[in-house]
C-alpha cells in the first residue's frame, strides 16, 4: 500500500531535511529491497485481493493485469522518481518548497496529512476485524458505510487508541518489530493462498489454473454496488495504487539515500510479494469464504485469515496492519506539524491518530479501498508532474526552475494552477464524464505537466517584462 517513508530501517528523525543527503549517509541496494518488501505486505492487502473478486475479475485479467501493472510501477520508480532523487538528494517537501513556495507547500502538506489519516483509518479498520473476531463483535458488511453497532465502535476505538499511543511514544519499537516480522509475514501471506486453495478443492499445482478460472477469479458479474473489473482496471490499479509515491514523487524522500538510481528496481520486491502474491492469496481466501458460506460477502481480514491459518493468521493481520499504520500515523503527524512547527510532535501525532481512529470507525473507507487508494494517488500526483517538468524541462521550455527559491515567492501560481485544475478536470471526468477513477491518472499527469509549462511561461514572462 501507498504510504510515506523515509530512509530504510531508520527511525523518523528529521535528518537532512533541508540539505542534500551527504555521501556517507547513502545506503546500499538491499536496504531498498527490504523496505519495499515490508511496506507493501500490509494488512490492507487483505482488503484489496477480495475486492478484486467482488468486482468480478477473471483469472487471466487479474494475473496479467497485476504482472504488467506492477512492472509499470517499478519502471516508474526507476525512470521517473529515482533519477531525480539521486541527483537532487532532497525530500519531496523541500524540493516542492523550492518550486512552489512555503504557502503552497503548506497546502500540499495538509492534503498529504488528510490522505494519510484516511489510509491509517483503513488500517485501523482492518485490525479491528482481527480484534473483533476474538470478542464476537458484529462486524460491518461489504456495502456498509457507517459503523454498524456499539461493539464495532468500541473495538475500533480500543484498537485506534492503542495504535495511536504507540505511534506517538513507541515508534521505534514498532519499527523494529516491522523489520523483524517482514520475512515471517511474507510467508504467512503465501500460506493463506496455499491453504485456501486446498480448502477450495485444488489439490495439485497442475490443477490450479483451470480451477482458479472456475472457482476463484471466475470473471462473472460483480457483487452488488461494485464496478466490473477487466484487465485494464487491474493493470491501471496496480500501476497507480502507489501513484503518489512514484509519478507523484513522494519517494524522492526515500531514494535520496540511494547510491544509484537503479536501486529503485528493489521496489519489485514490494510489488511482486505484496501487490501480486499477497493480493492473489487474499483473493483465494475470499473465494473460499464465498464457496464455504454462500451469501457471506463480508470482506473482513481477521475472520478470513483465521479460517485458513488460525491464530497465526490473525496475528499476521494484526502485525501487518500495525506495522504499516505506525509510520502512516507518524507521517501524517509530521505533515500536519510542518504547518505548525512549534506544536509538540507527540501531541500532533496523538491528534492525528484520533482522526485516523474516527476515520476507521467508518467501514466505507476500507470497503471502498480500491477507489480511495486511486483518489489518494490522484490528489498528490499533479505535484509529481510539476517536479518532473521543473527538474528536467524548465529551461528547455524557457522558464526558470525552482521559481519560489529564486524569486522569494511564497506561492507559485503555476504549480497551484497545475495542481488544482488537474484535480478539478480529473474529478469532473470521473463524476460527470463517467470515466472510472483508475483511468484518469495517466492523462492527468500529462495535463498537469502541460499546465505547469504554460502557466510558468506566462507568470515568469510577465515578471521579466516588468
Amino acid at each position: 500500500m501507498a504510504d510515506e517513508r523515509k530512509a530504510p530501517h531508520a527511525e523518523p528523525v528529521d535528518e537532512y531535511e533541508r540539505e542534500p543527503v551527504p555521501e556517507h549517509a547513502l545506503l546500499g541496494f538491499s536496504s531498498f529491497v527490504g523496505q519495499y518488501a515490508g511496506e507493501h505486505t500490509a494488512g490492507t492487502e487483505l482488503m484489496i485481493g477480495p475486492l478484486f473478486i467482488a468486482s468480478g475479475v477473471s483469472a487471466p485479467a487479474v494475473v496479467g493485469g497485476l504482472l504488467i501493472g506492477n512492472l509499470l510501477a517499478v519502471l516508474s520508480w526507476m525512470f521517473l522518481t529515482a533519477p531525480i532523487a539521486v541527483r537532487a538528494r532532497m525530500t519531496v517537501y523541500y524540493q516542492l518548497e523550492k518550486i512552489c513556495g512555503r504557502t503552497l507547500v503548506t497546502g500540499y502538506n495538509l492534503a498529504n496529512g488528510v490522505m494519510f489519516c484516511f489510509l491509517a483509518g483503513a488500517m485501523v479498520t482492518v485490525n479491528a476485524t482481527a480484534l473483533g473476531l476474538w470478542f464476537g463483535v458484529d462486524m460491518p458488511g461489504l456495502n456498509d458505510l457507517y459503523p454498524n453497532g456499539l461493539g464495532w465502535v468500541l473495538t475500533v476505538l480500543v484498537m485506534g487508541a492503542l495504535m495511536t499511543v504507540v505511534a506517538a511514544y513507541g515508534y521505534k519499537v514498532v519499527a523494529r518489530i516491522a523489520n523483524i516480522a517482514a520475512p515471517w509475514m511474507v510467508l504467512v501471506f503465501i500460506a493463506y493462498g496455499i491453504v485456501a486453495a486446498r480448502q477450495l478443492g485444488i489439490d495439485s499445482v497442475e490443477s490450479f489454473w483451470p480451477k482458479a478460472k472456475e472457482l476463484i477469479w471466475t470473471g462473472g458479474e460483480p457483487l452488488a454496488g461494485r464496478a466490473k473489473f477487466t484487465f485494464w482496471h487491474v493493470m491501471f490499479f496496480a500501476w497507480f495504487c502507489n501513484m503518489a509515491t512514484h509519478i507523484g514523487m513522494a519517494d524522492l524522500s526515500l531514494f535520496r539515500y540511494a547510491r544509484k538510481s537503479w536501486y529503485a528496481v528493489g521496489s519489485a520486491a514490494g510489488m511482486y510479494l505484496g501487490h501480486f502474491i499477497a493480493w492473489l492469496s487474499a483473493s483465494i481466501l475470499y473465494a473460499h469464504q464465498l464457496h464455504a458460506t454462500p451469501g457471506n460477502t463480508d470482506v473482513l481480514p481477521g475472520p478470513l485469515a483465521y479460517n485458513s491459518a488460525g491464530v497465526a493468521g490473525v496475528l499476521c493481520v494484526i502485525v501487518a496492519g500495525w506495522t504499516t499504520a505506525n509510520p502512516t500515523i507518524y507521517r501524517a503527524g509530521l505533515a500536519f506539524q510542518a504547518m505548525a512547527p512549534r506544536s509538540s510532535r507527540y501531541r500532533v501525532t496523538l491528534l492525528t491518530g484520533a482522526l485516523a481512529t474516527i476515520a476507521g470507525l467508518f467501514p466505507a473507507i476500507a470497503m471502498k479501498l480500491l477507489d480511495f487508494v486511486a483518489l489518494y494517488g490522484l490528489a498528490l500526483m499533479p505535484m509529481g508532474a510539476v517536479i518532473f517538468v521543473d527538474f528536467w524541462l524548465a529551461r528547455r521550455f524557457g522558464f526558470r526552475p525552482n521559481y519560489a527559491d529564486r524569486s522569494g515567492a511564497a506561492f507559485n501560481w503555476a504549480a497551484a494552477v497545475a495542481w488544482v485544475a488537474t484535480l478539478v478536470v480529473c474529478l469532473a471526468v470521473v463524476n460527470a464524464g463517467g470515466m472510472q477513477i483508475y483511468f484518469v491518472g495517466l492523462p492527468g499527469w500529462f495535463l498537469a505537466a502541460a499546465l505547469y509549462i504554460v502557466v510558468s511561461r506566462i507568470v515568469q514572462g510577465k515578471e521579466t517584462r516588468s
Binding site: H9, R176, N179, I180, A181, P183, W184, L187, V188, I190, A191, I194, V195, A197, R198, Q199, D203, A309, G310, V311, A312, G313, L315, C316
Partner: protein, 55 residues
Amino acid sequence: MRRAAQLLSLAALAGTIVPPVLFFAGRMEIEPMKWSMLVAAVAWFAATPIWMDRK
C-alpha cells in the same frame, strides 16, 4: 547464542510454510497445521530479535 537463535529462526520460517504445503498435498490435517504455524510464529518472534537488527 546468536547462531542458535538464527537456526531457530530458520526452523520457524520452515514451520510457517512447510505445514501449509503439506496440507495442500493432503499429508497434514488443518488443525495440526494451524497449531504448527502458531508455534512457528512464537519461535520466530522469540528468536529473531536476538540476532536481527543488532549491531
